[in-house]
């Protein structure tokens, strides 16, 4: 835990320009955006599907990043909010025939509510204790989803199959490609919202709490309110990510939202760089592709290989992708001077 806390409390050299440190420069942003728009045009449907996965998992990591990197609270319970979002979307689409683009905001708002409420008791806890409380939430969720009186809607253990939407207006693109661009728009909107949120009054309040709770309350920050708010916002975004995953995977089942998912998201955040929003996508890429690479190296020992790779990352670049980005920037700067 302490390595992570280091990042949170004594964030490295970039702390002097916290606003910029949260995001990419405008030039880099445009290049990344163009890549995200262009790549699917030349890729197979399966690759597009993987990229869609990358986007919505990136969104879920981003949500955790706002909570941990922004307000300094831990959560191992993100899989619960993710699952709730996925189920709300799937049930609305399949049982009530509501179009998918209306389901997502509902999932987001309801998850915000759940997160905000969960944040109330969680207020009394901090650090590892908070992590444990959220851990309990993640463990309970798959069982709650199997409850009998919900089975009418959720399909119980069998899960629920979701119909993938076709491209609207007769656009000549595959379902996968349409879903990718739809996801990209949603993710971009939420990313911009998040960056602005962290630059706003509320964002400064989050960071003040993260850096020193007592000092923050002395400055007049309503600690209780902002802590629960951070929980709510994070849960809401996670819910939208879960909803997108339900549409892309076309299936929800309690087994999809176990504690393993929560740990993966946590891992993604650490690898991407705590508190650095663009790192979320890199973190998501790590949790999607590295297990596949590990499996390619050795099927029987895929877990061990994954562990070694993860260890290498943590050992070599403890601050994750953010550190790599900073090193890259410094290197570029040095080149320019020469």
């Amino acid at each position: 835990m302490s390595a992570v806390e280091d990042v949170v409390t004594e964030a490295p050299a970039v702390e002097a320009v916290p606003k910029r440190a949260m995001t990419l420069g405008s030039g880099t942003s445009i290049v990344v955006l163009l890549l995200l728009i262009a790549v699917p045009l030349f890729a197979k449907n399966f690759v597009i599907f993987q990229l869609t996965q990358l986007l919505y998992l990136g969104l879920a990591v981003l949500a955790l990043n706002i909570l941990t990197g922004g307000s300094g609270q831990f959560s191992l319970g993100q899989s619960a909010f993710y699952g709730i979002g996925a189920y709300i979307t799937a049930v609305m689409m399949e049982q009530f025939n509501i179009p998918y683009f209306l389901c997502l905001p509902v999932a987001g708002v309801l998850c915000f509510g759940v997160g905000f409420l969960f944040g109330q008791p969680a207020l009394r806890l901090s650090g590892v204790y908070l992590a444990l409380a959220t851990f309990a939430l993640a463990t309970a969720m798959p069982q709650l989803l199997k409850l009998n009186f919900l089975e009418k809607w959720t399909g119980g253990v069998q899960g629920l199959v979701v119909t993938k939407p076709d491209a609207p207006f007769g656009l000549p693109m595959s379902q996968d490609m349409w879903l990718y661009y739809f996801t990209l728009v949603v993710v971009l909107a939420i990313y911009i919202f998040s960056v602005n949120l962290l630059r706003s009054r509320s964002g400064r309040a989050f960071m003040a709490i993260r850096d020193n709770e007592i000092a923050a309350s002395a400055m007049g920050v309503n600690v209780a309110l902002y802590k629960t708010l951070a929980f709510g916002v994070s849960a809401g975004i996670t819910g939208v990510a879960g909803g997108l995953s339900a549409i892309a995977v076309q299936f929800v089942a309690p087994d999809s939202f176990t504690i393993t998912l929560a740990i993966q998201l946590f891992l993604g955040m650490v690898v991407g760089g705590v508190g650095w929003l663009p790192g979320s996508i890199i973190g998501a890429a790590f949790i999607i592709f590295v297990p596949n690479i590990a499996e390619g190296i050795s099927k029987g020992l895929s877990g061990a290989v994954f562990g070694v790779l993860l260890f290498l990352v943590i050992y070599l670049v403890p601050h994750g992708a953010r550190q790599v980005a900073i090193l890259g920037q410094q290197f570029a700067g040095r080149l320019r001077k020469n």
């Binding site: 197979k44 599907f49 199959v161 299936f251 999809s256 176990t258 499996e295 895929s302």
Partner: protein, 408 residues
């Protein structure tokens, strides 16, 4: 001139004939993605990691079986390329791996993927993209639905089939029985209970108490007490290993001695009977369809001899006591049989057609008398089991092989 012209005409005729024969030969050979003159690519998804990784033995046995086939020259001269991926028993990962197999590795079909919710996650995709999802390794009865899902087929007897066999047995042996059912409150338990009621038909009121339990409960003692109080003299325990053992113990503790039937899921001697106690487990009934690799009665059996040879030669690290190895061997043998029946017509359509026309096929490791039969309206390959009774330190098979088919 004519003398010269004649050979030219003959040449043309011969050429035309050749072309005709050539196209005829081509017409006989038909391929979809994943099949060629030299190779057939088969996809598979297994939980090599995660909570269900104990089942990975099935995937390894299947891989070894295809290695054996390749070493012996392949199927109709084609080598099998078995591509098996890990989904860690997580449905979203199953979807990713299935798409990778179909769209990136271009497999002809996906064979023997494991799990109920994992297979449920890809069933729609497989049927929409018209790629066979053959011999699913799960006991749910929903894989036998050829009307709605013509590209998905199960393999092992479904929970419902097994329950119907118990119903038949009870109606024959104890027509005035009062049945108490303890069942796990999930798809497994409910599938079973439904099958039991279907099997009993209009005798369903023989069930005096249906008692559900949740896997989250630490102990199921009070349910067993309730079942005894209901006056039941047949106890059907639709439970997973831990709870099956608890139920055996509790029944003995409260001196309840009904005819005790446990589901095939919980027949492991090491996992259920031993922890419960050999003495109190005598006479417990269950049913099976696979030969037990540790049972010496099969030492002289031809099929099991081939199985033991296979382990020695191609999968020496496998534990022959592991039922997964016996299972994987038989499932892979069924798959090989279907591909053999396809001949040179390796289209996905034909694969499904052949899979749905298996007649009296008997893999080496199924109990004698159990045959695999399928038809265009019957996608449940194994529907027979044999009753067994726990005697001494092992299960003893008795009686005839019983079919779950209600007609006979």
């Amino acid at each position: 001139m004519t003398a010269v012209r004649f050979p030219v005409v003959a040449l043309f005729a011969a050429f035309a004939l050749c072309t005709a024969m050539n196209t005829a030969a081509l017409a006989q050979k038909a391929y979809d993605n994943g099949a060629s003159d030299t190779e057939i690519r088969i996809g598979n998804i297994m939980p090599y990691s995660g909570p269900a990784s104990a089942y990975a033995a099935i995937g390894k046995a299947e891989e070894a079986y295809f290695n054996k086939i390749n070493a012996e020259g392949g199927i109709n001269g084609r080598k099998i390329k078995f591509i098996s991926y890990d989904d860690a028993y997580s449905p979203p990962k199953t979807v990713e791996q299935a798409r990778k197999l179909v769209e990136s590795d271009n497999v002809l079909l996906i064979f023997g993927s494991l799990g109920t919710s994992t297979n449920g996650a890809i069933r729609k995709y497989m049927n929409e993209s018209k790629v066979p999802q053959l011999f699913v390794a799960s006991g749910a009865s929903k894989w036998n639905d050829p009307k709605q899902y013509p590209w998905t087929m199960g393999w092992q007897p479904s929970y419902a089939s097994e329950a119907k066999i118990y119903a038949k047995y009870i109606m024959k042996e104890k027509p005035d029985a009062k049945i108490g059912v303890l069942y796990q409150n999930d798809d497994f338990g409910k599938d079973y209970l439904k099958g039991l009621k279907e099997g009993l038909g209009d005798k369903a009121p023989m069930i005096v108490l249906e008692e559900p339990y949740d896997t989250s409960e630490p102990a199921i003692d009070e349910h067993v007490v309730k079942l005894k109080a209901s006056g039941a003299d047949v106890f059907i325990s639709i439970t997973t290993p831990k709870f099956a053992a608890q139920a055996i113990k509790k029944a003995a503790e409260i001196a309840w001695h009904p005819m005790h039937i446990v589901s095939n899921v919980s027949t492991s001697v090491g996992g259920v009977i031993e922890p419960a106690g050999y003495e109190i487990s005598q006479g417990i009934l269950s049913a099976s369809y696979l030969k037990d690799g540790s049972d010496p009665q099969w030492n002289a059996d031809d099929g099991m001899k081939r199985f033991y040879n296979f382990i020695a030669q191609y999968d020496p690290k496998a534990n022959k006591l592991d039922v997964g190895v016996v299972f994987g061997y038989a499932a892979a043998q069924t798959m090989a049989r279907v591909l053999q029946m396809c001949g040179d017509n390796l289209t996905r359509d034909n694969v499904m057609k052949q899979a749905a026309s298996l007649k009296d096929f008997a893999p080496d490791t199924l109990l004698p008398g159990i045959r695999i039969n399928t038809a265009p309206d019957n996608f449940a390959p194994i529907e027979q089991l044999q009753m067994m009774r726990f005697t001494g330190k092992a299960w003893e098979l008795f009686g005839d092989v019983i079919s779950s088919n209600l007609a006979h």
